[in-house]
């Protein structure tokens, strides 16, 4: 195979967005090396611009006809494009909210951004990886940079503890995942491309074997760790509490989106022979996540732990879309992820701002915040209410679409549990809002009573303000003006051959998104 022939076959244009992120990463690193510490004035903005350009090139590839590249290692189909976009945007929103936090903690910003961008590259490659080796290498790129980010504040013992816990549990789950995919390699007689594995297993006559089920269970254990589904969630509260808050924001959105992308691709294209089994296992995980996440969140006193359990519960909701496996199911999952990106990052941005000003993240300390900082109160309230699913906000429409898709596909039990647990979730989200808004002036907490004067002109505060406002606007309006997002989500599913080839459980109901029948509005609207 000569070079010209090979380079023509590679179709390297499909990984242009990742290439742009890698170049941004190198520019950040080298610029910091040349300029020194004053580089922090420039590097975050370079990184944000690079990520936005990468997102733009993802849009340009929307109508691509040749998604397969690198001889089958990478598949840049529409569903991977949308997940890569979600990951890139979540990193682009995480960087502005982290500038002030990193500066104030006295650690260096350029290395933080470099590691964050590497995590983004890992997540983006994972969304499109179509071959076992590629999946594992990109998964490790994402995981190892996440461990480093978790332990980045190394003077803080809580950050060290979180990093060590995350590293140990993560390494164990990676090992289990690797064992699972090695079984897949053995069963298919040495095939590593996902699209070829099933055919190869059938031709070897192993489609009923015990090995396939064990491989499935091990692979699901690895994926469930990444998306923090119960019972693989134990790391989540401790890691979320201990690690730097901007990192938590990225882990809860970017890393989780990458986990879902991996789940969709691996389960749909490599395990169609045991699809009933994986749907059953995931149903159990989804029910456990929704119930345990929401119920345990009720008892939390720390805001970061509350958001940790809330993110476990949100993973449960998202899994409904994956389990039903219809077109509407997948697109509702993608749609909810897009909305979840902004409402969750907005919530974390507000928590970061409050922590920077008062140095605490206890829920009690938020009481009476309304009198001192109306913008922060408004933004945090909107984001939390949207996470809970209160009607005019974006989260409500996302949840309704998910539950509607589940109901259409006949997953009545899952949808009912989802409805009941989201009513529970409204209680703990509203409790925070009530603490902030309703309290009388004399009940104001000490932290709020000593609230510093609001200064947006300090280093790194302006980007934080901008991202809070962007998340606020998006969360308020994305539900009402949801049509472009709906079209993106449905388009990404209908344009993906992998998702079209599989048999959906029920006939696909095509319907204009504006006229969604909403049989469940009353029960959510409590």
């Amino acid at each position: 195979m000569d070079f010209a022939n090979l380079s023509a076959q590679l179709n390297a244009g499909a990984i242009l967005p990742e290439g742009i992120v890698i170049i941004t990463l190198l520019v950040t690193l080298v610029w910091d090396l040349i300029v020194g510490r004053s580089s922090t004035k420039v590097t975050p903005y370079v990184a944000i611009v690079g990520l936005l350009i990468a997102t733009g090139t993802l849009f340009l590839q929307w109508d691509t006809t040749e998604p397969i590249s690198f001889l089958g290692s990478f598949n840049g189909d529409a569903i991977s494009l949308i997940f890569r976009g979600i990951i890139a945007i979540s990193a682009a929103v995480t960087i502005p909210i982290s500038i002030r936090y990193v500066e104030q903690s006295g650690t260096s910003l350029a290395e933080f951004i470099t590691i964050l961008l590497t995590a983004t590259v890992g997540g983006m490659f994972l969304s499109g990886a179509d071959e076992l080796v590629m999946i594992f290498v990109s998964l490790e790129t994402l995981s190892i940079s996440s461990y480093l980010l978790t332990g980045y504040m190394k003077r803080d013992p809580r950050s060290n503890e979180a990093a060590l816990k995350y590293l140990l549990i993560g390494a164990a789950s990676s090992a289990i995942f690797l064992y699972g995919i090695s079984l897949l390699y053995g069963l298919s007689g040495g095939e590593t491309r996902l699209s070829a594995i099933t055919a190869s297993i059938i031709s070897n006559g192993l489609d009923e074997s015990l090995g396939l089920v064990i491989a499935l269970v091990f692979v699901i254990a690895g994926i469930a760790f990444k998306i923090a589904a119960v019972p693989f969630h134990q790391w989540t509260p401790d890691v979320y509490e201990g690690s730097p808050t901007p990192v938590v924001a990225f882990l809860s959105v970017g890393s989780k989106a990458a986990g879902f992308a991996l789940a969709v691709r691996l389960l749909v294209s490599a395990f169609p022979l045991v699809s009933d089994q994986w749907r059953f296992v995931l149903t159990a995980l989804a029910i456990l996540s929704m119930v345990l996440g929401n119920v345990v969140a009720l008892a939390q006193t720390s805001m970061k732990r509350l958001l940790a359990y809330s993110s476990i519960a949100q993973a449960g909701f998202l899994m409904i879309g994956l389990i039903v496996g219809t077109d509407a199911g997948y697109s509702s999952m993608v749609f909810y992820l897009m909305i979840y990106l902004f409402m969750n990052l907005g919530g974390f941005a507000c928590v970061i701002l409050f922590t920077l000003r008062t140095g605490t993240d206890e829920i009690n300390e938020y009481s009476g915040l309304y009198q001192k900082d109306p913008l922060l109160t408004l933004a945090l309230s909107i984001c939390l209410l949207s996470l809970g699913g209160i009607p005019p906000l974006a989260g409500f429409f996302g949840k309704i679409y998910l539950f509607w898709a589940g109901w259409q596909a006949g997953a009545y039990g899952l949808v009912l549990i989802g409805l009941i647990t989201s009513v529970i979730s409204i209680y703990y989200y509203i409790r925070v809002v009530k603490t902030m808004v309703v309290k009388e002036p004399q009940e104001m907490s000490e932290a709020v009573a000593n609230y510093p004067e609001i200064q947006w002109n300090l280093t790194g505060m302006r980007p934080l303000q901008v991202s809070i406002v962007v998340a606020l606007v998006f969360t308020s309006l994305a539900g009402v003006l949801a049509n472009p997002l709906f079209n993106l989500a449905t388009g990404s599913v209908s344009k993906t051959p992998m998702l079209q080839a599989t048999e959906p459980m029920t006939p696909v109901v095509s319907q204009a998104p504006e006229q969604l029948p909403m049989p469940t509005v009353e029960s959510v609207d409590l």
Binding site: F70, T114, T118, L148, L206
Partner: protein, 198 residues
């Protein structure tokens, strides 16, 4: 059975025994230094198995990377930490150990049933032998090109992360009352941004 097959079976038995014995030693011995050296033994016996499987390159890589780098690093880590601390015995520790043993045996039984019950498709192609190196190289630059290149990004980030974790940070309060400044390297002070609370 000719001589070659006999030698292979005997060496398989010896290697398997060595591997099991050393790995049990890693887990069961109390002294961590012994465990670390026995871990090297595990890696070497695994590379012996690779040689029996005609995979000479993988065996060499196993010894170079695992014994030469990973295991030596573990030993360095143990020696640098140099902390002798006796564990206080936990009450009813046998309960946890018994539960672990049951789970491990259950998993072992499940996996060995699976391994024995599956009719593994075994490649009928010719054994590459010493030409394996060429084959691996071809794969690296054709169908495994992308993971190979991504690994370089991973290594770059691991390098940066290791430096971030290992470098000394300036600690203002320690600097004030530290008396032995002879042995410390001069470091530039990181300018902290003024916090609004001050």
């Amino acid at each position: 059975m000719n001589l070659a097959e006999g030698v292979q079976i005997v060496s398989l038995g010896v290697l398997a025994f060595l591997m099991l014995a050393t790995s049990l030693g890693v887990v069961l011995l109390d002294n961590i230094v012994y465990s670390a050296f026995l871990l090297g033994g595990v890696f070497i016996s695994i590379s012996g198995l690779y040689i029996l499987l005609n995979a000479g390159f993988v065996a060499a890589a196993q010894i170079l990377i695992y014994v030469g780098a990973v295991n030596v690093l573990i030993l360095f880590g143990i020696m640098l930490v140099n902390k002798r601390q006796d564990f206080t015995p936990v009450r009813n520790a046998w309960l946890g150990k018994a539960a672990t043993a049951i789970v491990c045996f259950g998993l072992f039984a499940l996996l060995s049933t699976m391994v024995l019950a599956t009719a593994w498709p075994i490649s009928s192609g010719p054994i590459a032998g010493d030409a394996a190196l060429v084959e691996i190289g071809k794969h690296f630059f054709s169908d495994y090109l992308l993971p190979f290149e991504l690994a370089s990004v991973l290594l770059l980030m691991a390098l940066i992360g290791a430096i971030v974790l290992a470098r000394r940070e300036f600690l203002p309060e320690e600097m004030v009352d530290s008396t032995d400044e002879v042995l410390t390297l001069p470091e530039r002070r990181r300018e902290l941004t003024s916090t609004p609370r001050q």
